[in-house]
Subunit: 152 residues, 2 copies
DNA sequence: GCCAATCCCCACTAAATAGATAGAGATTAT
DNA sequence: ATAATCTCTATCTATTTAGTGGGGATTGGC
């Protein structure tokens, strides 16, 4: 199960990305819409800003906007930001590799071999699908050009 | 990342399943071989017994044996036993479904839709591959008949 | 019958993580 | 000025993880 924090992050990002270009969304409004504790959400949005995903404006007409286009932000990237490595074993993480202390031989480790298969399968999805894909309501992830939302 | 507990469970199961039929393996021996804290491992083996995966004999010649054949025990089953539902969201778990409290419509939830894709991919692997497959060192999971170990 | 080895059961603890809550400071439009 | 917003730091509580520890029950060998 993913954490509430990560789920809140996705809810917020999808709301911000769905906003018309140039128009900012406040943390209070996002919190209200999705019943997210406001101060908790502020921390999350701040993390997303520090990670270079969001930009923000302060003051009366402030709020958050996407810094990068929604179709360049993958689900895997956001998940890693809030949950740490996605790999089921430290010895399978490319980004945060650590050897299992009790492992005699990675090449012969049955656990590693089987989990690598599961991890590869889910990573392929998570690192491929983007916020843009999700908003486009496009089950097979084809190129949608400039379109953002396809009517149902 | 999976828990130590789950990892220990896999190490123990693979050791027990690799044993010749009818010969039992003691918790002390498994703990020694794989540097697992003994008392912690005992709890794990007991859980596996209660789940109907292992059987045990007490007393001087005691130890643990597989209750079910290794090729009927999937990685997903063991993982669920120690980690709870594998689904990334409660609303995606078949076995332990719970509605997301803040969700207005599951059918229209972008987060649910995307995570379903990732979950399907990894579940397909975890619920298909068995301890037997892993021990057979058989990367593509074909039928190995009665063979348990294929020489390298 | 006794002993030692083993599994079985239950209680407890220490550290880390999740999920917030709180308060004050910085910036900006009006 | 002021009110609304983002920004930063600290703190708190509950849960989970990863064990540890002390016995009790069962069994085989003597």
């Amino acid at each position: 199960m993913i954490s509430n924090k990560a789920k809140y992050a996705f809810r917020a990002l999808l709301a911000i990305a769905a906003e018309p270009e140039g128009s900012a969304l406040t943390s209070a409004e996002i919190a209200r819409r999705h019943a997210i504790p406001h101060k908790f959400l502020e921390q999350i949005l701040l993390d997303l800003k520090k990670a270079g995903v969001l930009d923000s404006r302060r003051g009366k007409t402030g709020g958050y906007v996407m810094l990068r286009p929604a179709d360049t932000v993958s689900f895997g990237e956001i998940l890693r930001l809030f949950e740490g490595p996605l790999a089921p074993l430290p010895c399978l993480s490319r980004n945060a590799y650590r050897r299992c202390e009790d492992c005699e031989s990675e090449a012969n480790c049955e656990i590693r071999r089987e989990f690598a298969r599961a991890y590869d399968a889910s990573r392929l999805v998570l690192d491929t699908r983007t916020l843009g894909d999700a908003l486009a309501n496009n089950p097979y992830g084809g190129d949608m050009g400039h379109e953002v939302r396809k009517a149902g």
